[in-house]
């Protein structure tokens, strides 16, 4: 009777471990190379694209759920996955697939950022 609950809890453990591990790898890269946040984001997004291009990242998504889709490498996975699915429909699909798969994330980021910029005033950075 506890079986479904155990499965859900196990899902959380896997998401925590894999998501945490991806962030830890990023932190190790930052510690040793002084890369800025923007470059780290680009690097990990590209890693996601390459891994899905090789057909590997989807197994991580199947295994870890949000642990693999929430980090920015999951965004790269979405782009690559969209392009691969589009390529099955022909040239036009291959060219438009990547950005249409990522449209939800990009639109949400733009719309919510616009709203927040209208609501909030910039505050001086307290260090």
């Amino acid at each position: 009777m506890f079986e479904p609950y155990l499965e859900i809890i196990w899902g959380f453990v896997k998401a925590f471990a894999v998501g945490g591990l991806i962030c830890m790898i990023a932190q190790i890269v930052i510690n040793f190379t002084d890369l800025t946040a923007g470059k780290i984001l680009v690097l990990f997004m590209l890693a996601g694209v390459v891994l899905q291009g090789l057909g590997l990242y989807q197994y991580l998504v199947e295994f870890a759920g949000a642990g693999a889709t929430v980090p920015i490498s999951g965004f790269g996975y979405l782009l690559a996955n969209g392009a691969i699915k589009g390529a099955q429909k022909g040239f036009f699909g291959a060219a438009t697939g990547a950005l249409s798969a990522a449209s939800a994330g990009v639109s949400a980021a733009v719309i919510f950022s616009f709203i927040m910029a209208m609501i909030f005033k910039s505050r001086s950075k307290k260090n």
């Binding site: 925590f16 962030c23 932190q27 782009l79």
Partner: protein
Amino acid sequence: MTGKNRENYNKNYIAYVNSFDPPTQHFKNCLRAFLVGGLICCIGQFMREIFEKVIGLNGDELSAAVSILLIFLGTLLTGFGVYDRIGRYAGAGSIVPITGFANSVASPAIEFKTEGLVYGMAAKMFIVAGPIIVYGVLAGTAVGLIYLFL
């Protein structure tokens, strides 16, 4: 001062300055990144469970809904100035999740609003997210074309 001397001088000076830097605490940084990053992913997993079991979404719709909600939370926390504080504690743990992407869009948008709505807010919005979209579209389309011709 000749070129070579100046180089040495710079090197000595940089070594001198670095000797006053606190040493990077690799283990502590990594642990914090692991904990905060894992926690954000767990919040994402929680949303997945809720959306799947209660609303009945699945597949691409499910991931899109989770991403949108996390991005909303990221921009909201950025607006309140909370996300910067999390970032100081967590380092990469707050940069790498999708909330960090949202933060990198919302933060300059809020900050540069004073420079106008077009060249201030709208242009600076993509100061970090722009490269991600540029290289993402390039790499993604390349993958699509490779699959098309294979």
